[in-house]
């Protein structure tokens, strides 16, 4: 198994509160890893450590190592470069209040000067990869806020893909969506893993079962158990994992 991201003895603090406790896990490349666990257990915090979004919050502290392509993301990476390589999709779709085209072109334009033709290509390919192209190709100039929730979320995924990431972090990407839009995103995730490593936080057990290859169970800032999704769901080693999966708490 080839690890895209390796986490070693990771601790994370909000001020004095320890939100992540000695986490070590390898995230396999080109697979979908689901993070499950009850609210407030540290899944989202963990996700936000991986592309250093937590840097934006004051009074936070990280201990331990996060290795991406063998390099420590807190020491050997420029944070802008890191976020380009490790993209993030948020819980609520957050397209910018601009046209569909400009939403996708936003990222590439930040990082280098691309000519119009090249940019057009990036936009089209990103939208195709996010399975949105056919729905928006005739309204590229329209405001992205006019799209449906599911379309907005796929637009946000396309926006990430446009800067050429290797890893996609998804923080409950379907929790604000209806079942049909959710199914589309799930199909998309399964397609995307061919090219990208995906880490997805979900509260939906069935979703984790449907789309993930690996699952990690978080509880109170610790990883209780992680492994192949089948194993975790059918033969959990820890009693707490079993209780959570069978719906006894959470």
């Amino acid at each position: 198994m080839n690890a895209a991201v390796s986490i070693r003895n990771l601790n994370f603090y909000y001020d004095t509160l320890r939100a992540l406790n000695n986490i070590s896990i390898d995230i396999p490349a080109n697979r979908v890893t689901a993070l499950i666990g009850p609210s407030g257990c540290g899944k989202s915090t963990f996700l936000r450590v991986l592309n250093r979004m937590n840097d934006l919050i004051d009074n936070t502290r990280v201990e331990g190592e996060v290795l991406f392509n063998g390099k420590n993301i807190y020491k050997d990476f420029d944070v802008m470069e890191l976020r380009k390589k490790i993209g993030m999709v948020f819980q609520k779709p957050n397209p910018f209040p601009m046209s569909v085209y400009n939403n996708i072109a936003y990222g590439p334009k930040l990082h280098r000067k691309a000519d119009v033709k090249e940019l057009d290509g990036i936009v089209e390919n990103s939208l195709k990869a996010a399975a949105l192209w056919n729905e928006v190709k005739d309204r590229m100039g329209n405001n992205a806020l006019g799209l449906s929730g599911g379309q907005q979320q796929r637009l946000c995924i396309a926006r990430c893909l446009a800067v050429g990431p290797e890893v996609l972090l998804m923080d409950e990407p379907t929790s604000a969506l209806d079942p049909i839009s959710t199914a589309k995103i799930e199909d998309l995730v399964k397609d995307l893993k061919e090219k990208y490593t995906i880490i997805i936080v979900t509260h939906n057990m069935q979703q984790a079962g449907r789309i993930s290859d690996y699952t990690a169970f978080f509880l109170n800032g610790e990883i209780i158990e992680h492994g192949v999704t089948e194993e975790i769901f059918h033969r959990p080693l820890d009693k707490r994992t079993e209780d959570y999966i069978t719906g006894r708490f959470g």
Partner: protein
Amino acid sequence: MNSKNISQRAAFLVLKTASMATVAVLAIIVLYIMSNGLKHINPAFFTQKPVSMGREGGIAPFIKSTIYVTSVALAIAAPVGIGSAVYLAEYSRGLTPVRIIRFCTETLAGIPSIIFGLFGFVFFVIFLKLGWSVLSGGLTLACMILPTIIRTSEEAIKTVPMPYREGSMALGATKWQTIVKVVLPGSIPGITTGVILGTGRAIGETAAVILTAGSSLRAPVSVTDPGRTMSIHLYVLTMEGISNEKAFATAAVLIMFILGINFAANKTVKLMRRQV
């Protein structure tokens, strides 16, 4: 009908009366000035120089002065104000110096304009040797409207949703790129409103400019020339009993300016909102 319902109706009536009273006061002032002023206004009033201290003739030089002084004030206060607002809202949430800066701007907003005038007179006119001039008047007005611009711009910037910022940063944008490309475009309608409010205050201000811009009857040619704004002219006409007719006519023009600016601002902001 039970007592709860009666008290609700009574409260509603009181509130409605209060808001109607506001509209009524504005309407009465505007109507009174207009009915007394408009009959003395003709095209020549806008284009001619005043004759014998303003007893006859028009107010062309004073319209010019007003526009000059206000433009100077805006040219200084808008960039400084918007810059401070960005700093306060984006770079320094919750820091101690910010609380001090915020306290200062709030206090600045409450200082009577005659004190700004006195300050401008001592500092710009005498100490910096700028003399009674469009520049001194503009600088003084800039100080005065700065708090308005900072406050409204800061509020506008804060209303840009956090997820926009996160979305941008997550794509590898720097904070500055995020501010320029996402935050400022999203807050332009609000910032514009703030700048317009400041303009409105500056245009009608008298006390702060009477001590700094002077009251020359000639139109200023450069920023170092003295000039008499419409509000100063109005003040002088009334105080010295020169001409009540011309005073009302000047007041009517001033009110038209302010109404015009507010109307244009409303339209612009609506247009921008639609584009966003």
